[in-house]
């Protein structure tokens, strides 16, 4: 069963207009790689020097992956990843 990745409005243009896309992989990093394979432009938007940019937040089940194992965090089959800008609030 594939993983659902929710795309924020700011990135939808680079994802063919989709609000969510399907991904494959055992970890957050692998799931994102499978998204990049389909939508190459997203890589530079989200990554810098092979890691998430500092103003990009990725959540799994509502939890920030930086509280878990970062890009190595395991994703269950049927899981949902949410990508959001980090600069909100305050």
């Amino acid at each position: 069963m594939s993983i659902t990745v929710k795309i924020p409005t700011q990135l939808r243009e680079a994802a063919g207009g989709a609000a969510q896309v399907q991904a494959e992989g055992a970890t957050v990093g692998e799931a994102l790689e499978s998204v990049f394979a389909e939508h190459g432009e997203l890589r530079d938007r989200l990554y810098l020097d092979g890691d998430l940019r500092r103003f990009v937040n990725v959540y799994i089940g509502g939890e920030d992956i930086r509280f878990l194992d970062g890009l190595q965090t395991a994703v269950p089959a049927g899981g949902e990843l949410t990508i959001l800008p980090a600069v909100a609030g305050g």
């Binding site: 243009e13 103003f55 509280f67 949410t82 959001l84 980090a86 600069v87 909100a88 609030g89 305050g90």
Partner: protein, 415 residues
């Protein structure tokens, strides 16, 4: 207006002045940039500001509003709060010159009225009719009140365990109060998602954030004006997201750049509660970005575990020779009392954090005897009464002189 565009702080990509807060290339935060005319006659500009309304709209030249000075006798104008010389506090701390900028003197009793006034006014210019926010409490009060004053619908999202006083002082304005089961960072995540779907809502601290943040510059403008167009040597400011802290410096910097005031940006000291100190921790570790934390502190208005402006707050502390310190919940309670006993100002827990950090800097010998220090007090003690409950003794007596005297005698106090 002098504001020209939104510019990404990370990659400098520019965008028009619309409801947009994040760079679509790199996800960096967008900030308003300005092109100010060089000031040919400083005295004339100062007099024009001094002749303006007794609220933040006297500084409208430096705010991102297309319509110039808003109607100043409508809405809920913020600002022009007292700057009080606090000699008794200075004496207790062994310092020379301390001033308290008391922003509890705003319409809803916190500095948030400044930022919401700017965001709400800009939101109306851009055609929005609904305000919304993710709040730790003070913002909730202010957004609900501004919605009422301006005749806009509002949706206010808060952590469900927020202080009761802050909930009551929000709901009374007739807003849609939404208590989210989670902490502030959960509320913020939900609002960030919602803001993508509700394009007709102006989330003051999300899609309106670049305009909102500019409102904090008015704290700096007022301090400089109230000190007779001079700069303080040092400011002590609380840090939640880091927006207020960095924008106060931006305010000073803009006025220095156009020649309205002379000098350098003050030494900027940031204040956090130990139970939510991602920026202080990154500062102590010499890092340039913050690792998010799960907040656990009585200073709920500062309980942001994932601070949006953390990297810029770290840069500012280092570039001005300041620091970012944290204090325990007990130090916060003690400092609320210290400020109250020496100045007559009763602040909420965030002000306790700021005052406790001032005391810490003084004890550490960081502050020179000849320094002029401004302590920025952001909110009112009546909003966080639990922090001081049971921390003092009251005399309960019958309505007789005998009972009155006996009550004091019991405590060993002669009256």
């Amino acid at each position: 207006m002098a504001a020209t565009q939104l510019r990404c702080r990370e990659c400098t990509t520019e965008y028009p002045l619309e409801a947009r807060y994040v760079c679509s290339r790199c996800f960096g935060p967008l900030e308003v940039s300005y092109e100010h005319e060089p000031v040919s006659d400083v005295g004339s500009l100062r007099r024009r500001i001094q002749g303006g309304p007794q609220n933040i709209w006297r500084y409208h030249d430096f705010l991102p509003l297309a319509g110039g000075q808003p109607q100043t006798r409508t809405g809920l104008p913020a600002g022009c709060t007292p700057l009080i010389r606090a000699d008794r506090l200075a004496e207790r701390l062994g310092l020379g010159e301390v001033w308290v900028k008391n922003d509890a003197h705003n319409p809803t009793h916190s500095f948030k009225d400044r930022v919401v006034s700017v965001a709400a006014t800009r939101a109306r210019e851009l055609g929005f009719d609904t305000l919304a926010c993710a709040s730790t409490g003070n913002l909730a009060n202010s957004v609900a009140a501004h919605g009422a004053a301006l005749g806009m619908d509002s949706y206010v999202l808060i952590p469900a365990d927020l202080e009761e006083q802050k909930q009551l002082a929000t709901a009374i304005y007739g807003t849609n109060l939404v208590k989210v089961r989670g902490n502030y960072d959960d509320v913020n995540r939900l609002c960030t998602e919602l803001s993508g779907d509700r394009e007709n809502w102006a989330f003051v601290n999300i899609n309106m954030r670049p305009y909102y943040a500019e409102g904090s510059k008015t704290v700096a403008f007022e301090i400089a004006e109230q000190l007779g167009w001079e700069l303080p040597d040092r400011c002590v400011v609380p840090i939640a997201s880091g927006s207020l802290y960095t924008k106060i410096a931006k305010g000073f910097s803009e006025w220095i750049d156009i020649g309205l005031i002379d000098g350098e940006i003050p030494t900027m000291n940031g204040a956090q509660a130990t139970g939510c100190s991602p920026v202080a921790t990154a500062y102590a570790q010499g890092k340039d970005a913050c690792r998010p934390v799960k907040p656990d502190t009585i200073a709920k208005s500062l309980a942001i575990g994932n601070p949006a402006d953390g990297p810029y707050a770290l840069d500012l502390a280092r570039s001005t020779g300041g620091s970012i310190d944290d204090v325990s919940d007990q130090e916060i309670r003690d400092a609320i009392r210290l400020l109250a006993e020496t100045t007559g100002i009763f602040t909420e827990t965030a002000g306790g954090v700021t005052t406790a950090v001032l005391a810490k800097l003084a004890a550490r010998g960081d502050i020179g005897a000849d320094e002029r220090v401004v302590l920025v007090i952001t909110g009112d003690g009546l909003k966080t009464l639990d922090a001081v409950r049971d921390s003092f003794h009251a005399y309960e007596v019958d309505a007789t002189i005998d009972s009155f005297e006996a009550a004091f005698a019991e405590q060993g106090v002669s009256v």
